[in-house]
């Protein structure tokens, strides 16, 4: 007992002294890390402080203390606006479609690629499939608009050539087609890239499993179903959970670039809504309220997804 009471008052001092000795020893490490930590603080954490704007009648140019506090006024306005519910519907609709397609198609494509026996062909197709990932959405949107256009667009030409339609479809002017166009564009752009992880997982499956299946007389399709798919099951689950976490943060890039005034009712996502009605009209407080809503829902979704994941696999991804 005595020994301990004797020791306690000494410890903080010793620890402190120790800290500073090591600090000077590690000064180069601190010099290499702290400037960037400060940097991350300014550009990643300071915007969170900006959330206070949603509870103020924010006027640019005034200092923080001169702003008028208004409580939940802007959130009430937000929840009474029809456009908000429209934007929420579009965000959820497009994310869900994107989630499903973006989840299923890369798995199918990875399995197909894995079944290509000609190595040079496999490598060529892989290289080609990465290409759209590396071009910007500006380029992608331009190309997609061109392919879907009514005069000489490849898709309309193809459908006309096959006599599936009698006159060109105005793809970019039909609101109810917009979600599908965004989803298809996403699949076109990112499928190749998203197969990388699945292909890596497939290559980790031991060849002896395939040999055993062959000896048992399994056809190629049966091998896919009983060896390949179970082999990449964990990877599939992890990637699914991660994408559920990102469900609502689909942003606005595709919608901004592919959309136009004719399809606005279907193209306006929450972020685009914040951009048009918050920033575009100088209503910073209102826009911030939209951003906060968006972030909070994302975090909730992430935790829910992680909770489900934990239940299934007893592991956490956060």
């Amino acid at each position: 007992m005595k020994a301990i009471t004797n020791k306690v008052p000494l410890e903080p001092k010793v620890k402190k002294a120790q800290f500073w000795t090591i600090f000077t020893q590690q000064k180069y490490l601190y010099m290499m890390a702290l400037p960037f930590v400060a940097w991350a603080f300014v550009f990643s954490y300071l915007p969170l402080w900006g959330w206070t704007m949603a509870f103020q009648k924010y006027q640019p140019g005034k200092s923080f203390f001169d702003q008028k506090w208004v409580g939940l006024k802007y959130f009430k306005e937000l929840f009474q606006d029809d456009q908000f519910y429209n934007a929420l519907r579009n965000t959820l609709g497009m994310s869900l479609m994107g989630l499903l397609a973006g989840f299923v198609v890369p798995i199918v494509f990875a399995i197909l690629l894995n079944e290509v026996r000609l190595q040079f062909l496999k490598r060529f197709v892989q290289t080609v499939s990465y290409l759209p990932h590396f071009v910007s959405w500006v380029v992608a949107a331009g190309i997609i608009t061109k392919m879907l256009s009514t005069d000489n667009g490849a898709v309309n030409d193809l459908l006309m050539g096959l006599h599936l339609i009698s006159e060109p479809i105005q793809f970019m002017a039909k609101g109810h087609l917009f979600w599908g166009i965004v989803t298809a564009s996403d699949v076109w752009k990112e499928t190749g890239w998203n197969t990388i992880i699945y292909l890596a997982a497939i290559s980790g499956i031991g060849p002896e499993l395939y040999e055993a299946a062959k000896v048992d007389g399994a056809s190629r399709l049966q091998q896919v179903r009983n060896v390949t798919l179970p082999g990449i099951r964990t990877t599939i689950v992890i990637l699914l959970i991660i994408s559920i976490g990102h469900l609502i943060s689909i942003g606005f890039e595709k919608q901004f670039l592919l959309g136009n005034n004719l399809v606005r009712d279907y193209s306006q996502t929450l972020d685009l809504y914040a951009l048009n009605y918050g920033l575009g009209m100088g209503r910073f407080s209102y826009g911030t309220a939209i951003n906060i809503f968006n972030s909070v829902v994302s975090v909730i979704l992430l935790f829910v997804a992680n909770g489900i994941f934990k239940k299934i696999t007893k592991e956490s991804i956060i």
Binding site: A40, V135, V139, T145, A200, T288
Partner: protein, 300 residues
């Protein structure tokens, strides 16, 4: 019976192969054709293109589309700024990510846990568009080149990729350098950096592509500054001005260009100019980014 099954191929496998090769062909065409089509139109005479029917070869070959767009001053400025931001942004990003990764790989570093958590959180928290805009405004960065390279300087994802690479290097190298009296910065500069080249190549590709492809920061912060325009932004203006009726987007300079050749040809030619640098680079770095992606996936 059993022997037959092992040596011979069941008929279902032939159908399976057929389906696989058919699907692969369709995907390849669907991916490649749009690019080839755009390329063909960009080299085709503008008035002839309007008639339609161009597939993957130009019908009336010409360089005129390219001559016309390069005569437009906005495009040259855009090219210059895009190249500048790609080089500067990539270099700064590489320095920050590799330095942070190095400090995080040092087990004895006191602030290691703090720095690591602090960085990891940036991947999950986001203030949103408008608080970010106000921040940039308060920092007086609107209408500056800095807005292209400074906000994205530190990326936690890149740090963690390089760090897991450094963790794979033998620690004895650092130990022996330390015994020789090298300080931590020298170890980073002389030993770690040269050995981390494969990881740095991956990150450099990600950073460079991100910088080259960025357009929204120009739109948001520098849209009215002619001398800070980027290629992607110029392309975006052309695409938006013809798909919607936003006449305000179209500067007078661009209207004159479009009077000479059709907007369609302008779009296609600029698209190719913007895409070619990426097309030239990415196939050669394939080995690196595949490694980087799988490494990143394992870690996160």
């Amino acid at each position: 019976m059993k022997i037959k099954k092992i040596s011979g191929t069941p008929w279902s496998d032939h159908i399976f192969d057929l389906v696989v090769y058919f699907a692969i062909t369709v995907v390849t065409i669907a991916t490649l054709y749009p690019f080839l089509n755009v390329l063909a139109i960009s080299f085709n005479d503008s008035t002839d293109s309007v008639k339609g029917g161009i597939t993957i070869f130009p019908r009336v070959f010409t360089f005129k589309n390219y001559e016309t767009i390069f005569a437009y001053s906005g495009l040259m400025t855009g090219l210059k700024i895009s190249v500048l931001r790609t080089i500067i942004g990539t270099l700064l990003g590489l320095i920050s990510a590799s330095m942070l990764a190095f400090t995080l790989s040092r087990v004895e570093f006191q602030a290691r846990k703090f720095v690591s958590t602090f960085l990891a959180l940036t991947m999950y928290v986001s203030g949103g568009l408008i608080p970010f805009y106000i921040l940039i405004k308060n920092l007086d960065m609107i209408g500056t080149f800095g807005v292209y390279v400074l906000p994205s300087l530190v990326s936690a994802f890149n740090v963690f990729i390089i760090r897991s690479f450094i963790d794979g290097l033998p620690y004895a190298l650092q130990e022996s350098a330390k015994l020789d009296g090298a300080n931590d910065f020298t170890i980073y500069w002389r030993i770690i950096l040269p050995l981390t080249k494969p990881a740095l190549a991956t990150i450099a590709l990600f950073l460079a592509v991100g910088q080259w492809n960025a357009w929204f920061d120009t739109y948001l912060f520098n849209g009215s500054k002619d001398y800070l325009t980027t290629l992607q932004f110029e392309l975006m203006k052309v695409i938006q001005s013809t798909t919607t009726n936003a006449e305000s987007f179209r500067g007078r300079n661009m209207t004159q260009v479009m009077a000479q050749i059709s907007p369609e040809s302008v779009k296609m030619a600029i698209t190719i100019v913007v895409t070619v640098p990426i097309l030239v680079v990415y196939p050669f770095l394939q080995r690196y980014f595949i490694k980087g992606m799988t490494l990143g996936a394992v870690k996160s």
